[in-house]
């Protein structure tokens, strides 16, 4: 055993251990001898550290593990053990997000990482302040902007890209100031019209003069600074501080005072940029918060958004007009056959007021937000935008957005939910690793529910009775200090006490105690391939019995199925939402529950907990119906899946959600106590008993 060996490991021993992990990427010309020989020269503790890390990385990718081993000895010279671990985690994060090539490049530049660590003590990571900045930008006004990560900061009008690390200044406060200023300048570009449609067109027309764009950006930055001076003086003070700290003074080209006029718009900057088109733009004229420009990216996004938002607005206006007609003072009056156009009363960036038939109307929030966004792109709301879509034209030209379609063509993550996943070997989350979509179960109209109701008619009746008892009656509490009515018995006794010289009790009232079951329950049903056959039947029957019983109890409940095929394709199937009744549609969906692929439980738990958190209830329970261990086609099998699921359940408990598991896996006692805790699960040894037991379990759980 290597651990028992007193001195450092020999090159041969190291090579042997490396080969165990990275054998698949070795060949006769590419052996582990080189890295092993280097590693033989360091002390034993470091050797073990590197070899353990190689084993961890190899569980994700053998090539990456080999590359790590090849650069590890050099790394140990400049990094301590904690930093070595951080180096490994960063490499794996890069591998997860960008791929092998980028991760290998990162490993090769170990000196760069060491330098970065040196400055990091004073620097600020974007990750740590991303939410603050996002909320901050959202508060400022206009279209909500996301924060993304890029080497140079710029905006594409939907996302503000900022560098991952800010290390320009010595203190964290100053680095935050810089981040904030960069973000505000990007926001100001979208809010004060820098990237209005007409400006983009004009800049594209002038693309043969490459100097126009940097000049335009320069003049715009100055114009925005002046606007911020009056609108957000606190931010302007920050900009001045940054200028002072970096020794920057904004240069003054001729005639530029025109930008300070209140009426100056982006067209002034463009006109001045055109005047300077023949002069090269001096790079040192930009300040540290000006950032860059990605015109082609902006153009694509603005054009795409304009089309989309026009359709959206027309649809929303049509719906709104229908609502206005329905709530008209005289409902007997027939609404006009055709929809009428709205008109603009006053165009201001955030509070555009509109009217219908000459009367001012207050638009709903979604219409208002859309009007603001369109105003940001066009600088006005054109009349043709205010004509509602005609009958049957809802979603006219809207792209087909069936979530099922995204798997057919090129893969993309638009509209999907991204969740972190816990990697127990790294002891770290894989960021945005699991991609999840919510789909509807395809309803199946085959009287499955009716058949089940007939089959278990006796049991349903019994369940209802027990559940009704659970609902609880209002109880009259006697001898209360305050209450609705007088407790005569107590008064008689108190009077007797008083007459006999004893102290009189003040508990003389009765009070009605109302039993209030404030419970929300989420059922998470395993729809993996292994449930095919009678397990699936038992699950569906169990759900029918539960729903029938729950109808009499009045608890709020939802049912969702889950399945997955690798972390890129996790699916949650809606059977019944919290706000839905137990309708025919829901019954058909229960019947339509069909086995799908695998069992990636962690992401499903995280998503359903998010849904559960949106419900207002005193007690929140997540009940999982499952037939086996967490499992998926990629590396989710075994301990990885169990540990991720356990971590997701810990997160749930932190959010005050009680998880519980009902399983038919007779082996479950070996892993469920670790995941759910010793008492939070039930193992049902025979599948056909599931429908009989489930209501009973639920009753015990919530009594």
């Amino acid at each position: 055993m290597p651990a028992d060996h007193p001195g450092p490991l020999s090159a041969d021993a190291i090579e042997e251990r490396l080969e165990e992990n990275v054998e698949t990427v070795l060949s006769s010309r590419r052996t582990a001898a080189g890295p092993a020989a280097e590693l033989a020269l360091v002390d034993k503790q470091t050797q073990n550290l590197v070899l353990d890390a190689v084993a961890v990385i190899a569980s994700t990718n053998a090539e990456l593990a080999f590359q790590f081993a090849s650069h590890a000895t050099k790394a140990t010279a400049v990094l301590d053990s904690k930093q070595l671990h951080a180096w490994m985690i960063r490499a794996m994060d890069i591998f997860d997000t960008t791929g092998l090539h980028a991760a290998v490049s990162f490993l090769q530049d170990v000196d760069g990482f060491a330098r970065e660590l040196q400055v990091r003590t004073k620097s600020l990571e974007l990750d740590s302040i991303q939410t603050i900045l996002e909320n901050y930008l959202h508060g400022l006004s206009g279209r909500p902007l996301r924060i993304g990560c890029a080497e140079q900061h710029y905006t594409d009008t939907e996302t503000v890209f900022l560098p991952a690390l800010c290390k320009r200044f010595e203190s964290e406060r100053d680095n935050f100031r810089l981040y904030k200023s960069m973000a505000v300048m990007c926001w100001a570009q979208t809010w004060y019209g820098t990237w209005q449609h007409t400006m983009i067109q004009a800049l594209r027309d002038l693309s043969d003069s490459p100097q126009v764009l940097p000049w335009y950006h320069f003049f715009e930055s100055r114009r925005l600074e002046l606007l911020l001076q009056s609108e957000l003086p606190g931010v302007f003070r920050d900009l001045l501080t940054l200028q002072k700290m970096t020794g920057y003074t904004r240069p003054h080209p001729e005639n530029w005072s025109v930008l300070g006029k209140p009426s100056a718009g982006p067209e002034c900057s463009l006109a001045m940029a055109e005047q300077h088109r023949h002069k090269p733009f001096p790079p040192d004229w930009s300040s540290c918060y000006d950032g860059g420009v990605e015109l082609i990216q902006i153009q694509g996004i603005v054009a795409n958004r304009l089309g989309k938002e026009k359709d959206q607005l027309k649809t929303l206006l049509a719906q709104w007009q229908d609502e206005l007609n329905a709530s008209a003072p005289n409902p007997n009056e027939q609404p006009p056959a055709q929809r009428r156009a709205f008109h603009i009363n006053e165009q201001v960036p955030q509070d555009t007021t509109i009217s219908l038939d000459g009367k001012p109307v207050t638009p709903p929030t979604d219409v208002k937000n859309l009007l603001t966004s369109i105003y940001q792109d066009l600088g006005q709301i054109p009349d043709e935008y205010l004509v509602p879509a005609g009958d049957g034209q809802y979603n006219e030209n809207a792209p087909a957005r069936d979530p099922r379609d995204v798997w057919k063509g090129t893969y993309h993550e638009e509209g999907a939910f991204l969740y972190h996943e816990w990697d127990f070997e790294r002891q770290h989350y894989r960021k945005n690793w699991a991609v999840l979509r919510e789909l509807d179960v395809h309803p199946q109209w085959d009287h499955f529910v009716d058949k089940t109701r007939t089959k278990y008619a006796g049991l349903i009746k019994q369940c209802r009775r027990t559940f009704e008892a659970l609902r609880g009656e209002d109880k009259v509490l006697k001898r209360q200090p305050v209450g609705d009515d007088i407790d005569i018995d107590a008064v008689v006794q108190a009077q007797a006490d008083l007459l006999s010289g004893m102290e009189m009790s003040d508990c003389l009232f009765t009070k009605m105690h109302k039993v209030d079951r404030n419970i929300a329950v989420m059922f998470m049903v395993d729809m993996s391939g292994s449930t095919k056959g009678w397990i699936n039947d038992a699950e569906r029957e169990a759900l029918v019995l539960l729903c029938e019983a729950l109808q009499s109890l009045g608890d709020r409940y939802a049912i969702y199925g889950f399945s997955s095929l690798t972390h890129k394709r996790c699916e949650i199937f809606r059977v019944k939402r919290f706000d839905e009744d137990y309708s025919e549609q829901v019954k058909a969906r229960i019947s339509g529950i069909k086995p799908q692929d695998y069992t990636r439980m962690g992401v499903a738990i995280r998503h359903l907990c998010t849904l559960l958190q949106q419900v207002e209830a005193r007690t929140k329970i997540l009940i999982t119906l499952s037939d086996g261990k967490p499992d998926d086609w990629d590396s989710y099998r075994g301990q990885y899946g169990i540990e991720d699921t356990r971590q997701a359940l810990i997160e749930a408990k932190r959010a005050n959600i009680h998880p519980y598991c009902i399983t038919i896996d007779t082996q479950a006692k070996s892993y469920l106590p670790h995941m759910y805790g010793a008492v939070n699960f039930t193992v049902i040894d025979q599948v056909h008993k599931l429908p009989l037991r489930i209501s009973d379990i639920y009753r015990r759980l919530t009594a």
Partner: protein, 294 residues
């Protein structure tokens, strides 16, 4: 000498404590059904709400006030009570409020039972304005007590006395709620809401809100305008991490702190940010917003 000094100190402190005991600082004791608001409560109308309320009052129609927290509903009620010179009896509803809490109950004094009117019965008897604040917080079985009062019968049945109390012509019932909660649990039943004339309240327009803050807190117009701008920023965050944006009431609080010499960002953090959220990241973002405005 030292002894005498101690004695003097003791007797002084004794006299002082006696003084507090003999002449305690006392709040005014007012009987709600007799109290009339004398000074005009400051209120800036947003739209036609004063006319509509007066018309509803004259026609003996109950009124429902809808609007976010701190937008001036209660102040409006005080103002109307002053205008109409009627007593205003306010009940803040909560989920333990029972019908007896509203109508009345028997108490025991000197070995006898004695009936004590609840605030609703008092208002009905004295022809006052009964204002049930945040009515959705009350349980639904309590809410139905007001039904016979809220239609043309204008009766309050008191079962325990076997009486039917007919409301005086001056009596008016007003309820309020915040539709922003958007919770299934906290929604008003149709059978309740369809008995009322509804008045919708929202935060006032920018200029009006600044004017209100200037008047209430005595700060200059520019600072008031900056405060309103900050409030709008927090209102943009409603539903995106904040349950509610800053209300006019919070702005007045912050403005009062400022007029007492507290720095604007400190006043905003204490009176607004901390009142809006406990989430540290959201708190940081809101504080940055106030730092940007001032």
């Amino acid at each position: 000498m030292a002894c005498r000094k101690i004695q003097t100190t003791l007797s002084l402190s004794y006299i002082l404590s006696l003084n507090v005991w003999l002449f305690p600082v006392q709040a005014n004791i007012l009987k709600p059904e007799e109290h009339r608001i004398v000074d005009e409560p400051y209120y800036e109308p947003i739209a036609e709400e004063i006319n509509v309320f007066e018309a509803a009052y004259r026609n003996q129609l109950p009124v429902l006030l809808k609007g976010p927290t701190g937008c001036g509903k209660t102040r409006f009620m005080e103002h109307m009570a002053w205008r109409l010179q009627r007593p205003l009896i306010t009940v803040s509803c909560h989920d333990d409020l029972t019908a007896s809490d509203l109508v009345g109950r028997f108490l025991i004094t000197a070995g006898e039972t004695r009936w004590v009117d609840g605030p609703l019965a008092r208002a009905v008897r004295c022809g006052g304005i009964c204002y049930l604040d945040e009515i959705v917080e009350a349980r639904k079985d309590t809410t139905v007590v007001i039904h016979p009062l809220a239609d043309d019968r204008r009766l309050l049945p008191i079962e325990k006395l076997g009486e039917l109390l007919e409301a005086a012509a001056e009596f008016s019932l007003v309820i309020s709620y915040n539709p922003g909660y958007q919770s299934v649990l906290k929604d008003l039943k149709q059978s309740t809401r369809q008995r009322f004339v509804a008045l919708e309240f929202d935060y006032p327009q920018q200029a009006l809100e600044s004017k209100i803050i200037c008047k209430e807190a005595g700060i200059d117009q520019q600072t008031a305008a900056q405060l309103v701008k900050f409030a709008h920023m927090t209102r943009n965050l409603k539903g995106n991490g904040l349950d509610e944006g800053a209300s006019t009431r919070l702005l007045v609080h912050a403005a009062k702190l400022m007029s007492s010499g507290v720095a604007p960002t400190v006043a905003c953090a204490a009176a607004i940010s901390q009142a809006l959220t406990d989430d540290p990241e959201m708190l940081a973002a809101v504080n940055e917003l106030s730092a940007s405005v001032f």
